[in-house]
């Protein structure tokens, strides 16, 4: 369980005269087995909040309790080892590092090829060409993003935070990805997923949706209750097949290719 107590995060204003509040006295509890989606307008503090939980940013004040332990002053590494995982919105690239190696590091052990194949298949990547590829500029933005998500799947943390996993991913892979998130959630094995997303289909998977605006929680509710207020219903024709790539989705990704 993750508990945030009165988290505030401030940064200096560009003129250096004062501070700007990015996260404003925010308190939140995310129980085990919970699938939470954090949504809200750009600049509302979503990514900052996720980075504060991972330890990448240090809150100006407040407390972070993870599974009963105060992790506020723990390093990124210590939090990772305590079971917190974070999938970056804009993943790092590594010259010379193979995809397989990154997955091994994520898992904390040398993974069998089959396991790597499965992680990559879950994000819609055919592994034959990818495991030996380098995580560098030769990969497209969508590819490196899916590899980023695969590292979190390989790490299998107790609390996984994905920062806009849909960004840069094509519709076919996105379809596969939502299935993966649904599968993890349905396993109900004590793991919690937090996804920062603007995507209607991801939001609809959630147990609970948090609307974050100006560093504060504006609303927390079930998706069916909150979604009408988010403006999604205004687009498209309800029930229109075109809103989902159902004809094209990849239901079977070969794992031995």
């Amino acid at each position: 369980m993750l508990e945030l107590r009165n988290i505030t995060f401030e940064v200096p204003t560009p003129d250096g005269a004062g501070t700007r509040r990015i996260i404003d006295d925010l308190s939140l509890t995310i129980p085990d087995d919970r699938f939470t989606v954090i949504t809200g307008p750009n600049g509302g503090g979503k990514s900052t909040l996720a980075k504060i939980v991972m330890g990448i940013e240090t809150p100006t004040s407040g407390q972070i309790i993870f599974n009963g332990r105060d992790v506020t002053n723990l390093s990124i590494t210590e939090r990772a080892n305590a079971g917190i995982g974070y999938g970056f919105q804009q993943p790092a690239r590594f010259k010379g590092m193979k995809v397989k190696k990154l997955l091994d590091i994520a898992a904390g052990k040398k993974l069998p090829m089959l396991a790597c194949n499965e992680y990559l298949a879950k994000v819609g990547l055919c592994s034959a060409g990818y495991l030996t590829r380098e995580v560098d500029k030769s990969l497209s933005g969508g590819e490196v993003k899916r590899i980023e998500i695969a590292t979190i799947l390989a790490r299998d943390p107790k609390l996984a935070i994905y920062d806009e996993p849909e960004a840069g991913i094509d519709l076919w892979s996105f379809d596969r990805l939502t299935e993966t998130f649904r599968d993890i959630h349905e396993a109900r094995d004590g793991r919690s997923i937090v996804i920062i997303s603007h995507q209607e289909r991801i939001i609809s998977l959630a147990d609970e949706v948090i609307l974050l605006r100006d560093g504060k929680i504006e609303a927390i509710d079930k998706p069916e209750a909150l979604m009408p207020t988010l403006g999604f219903v205004a687009k498209g024709v309800p029930g229109c097949q075109l809103t989902e790539p159902t004809e094209l989705h990849l239901t079977e990704i070969p794992t031995t290719c």
Partner: protein, 309 residues
Amino acid sequence: MAVDLSPIDASLLQEIANIHGLPKGAFNIRKDGKLVERHSSANIEIATKTDHPGIDITIADGTRGETVYIPVIVTQSGLKDVVYNTFYIGEDCDVTIIAGCGIHNESHQASEHDGIHTFHCGKNSHVKYVEKHYGEGEGTGERILNPVTNVFQAENSVCEMELTQLRGVTSTVRDTNAELEAGAKLVLTEKLLTHDDQTATSNMKVVLKGEDSNVQVISRSVAQDNSVQVFNPLVIGESMCRGHVQCDAIIMGNAKVKAIPGIEAACEDAMLVHEAAIGKIAGDQITKLMTLGLTEEEAEQEILEDFLN
């Protein structure tokens, strides 16, 4: 000839040539300026030069799948060893050459090895050359390596050269020269890590003489502490050819890196590209690996290892 390899010798050989004891097939092991052991094979003949110190390695036409080892180790301080090794590789060969120099210096006197390697690659031959330089020892004596590599590639030959120097060499000036005839291809990969007050200079000159000749120069280096590195690769295109020079350096501490990739075209159909980048380890790389459970130091080490791969 009696073979006398101490544990230090064996360890150096393992480090530079990845061999345990004496290798199979053709080899020539040189220690402190003297021959330790030599073996020729049916297709690869190794003979002592008559005009200079060093050896001539002659590889018969059509030799395929063979490896020749010519490691050099220096354990005697105060020694300056200069050696000329010339390879005559026949036509239609496919061979691997493992070279390298390991210096173990416990003294305050300098140890130096200057290897002048010349390759004549026959038509349609494929040569893989792996050279590793390494220095060790607690002494304050300098460990100096100044290799010269000259490559002459005949038509349609392919040469892959991997030149590596990771740690321990106080000072190095490397000169690499190559000339490529029509259809020849050269892939030159250089990996370098310097630390403390070490200096390393790498000069390269590759002349693409023949049509459809092709060179790819890949330089990956890490400069730590107060070390200084200078890269000076030059590719000259004299005909319809392709050349690509890529220098990538990670700089740490108070190190200095100077990269001056050069291209010269003397033909309108020459396609030459160079790129160079020097920078510190990106913070987002370290952060990512820390989110996967590595400490900052482990993350940095991992990034460097992969970068030099």
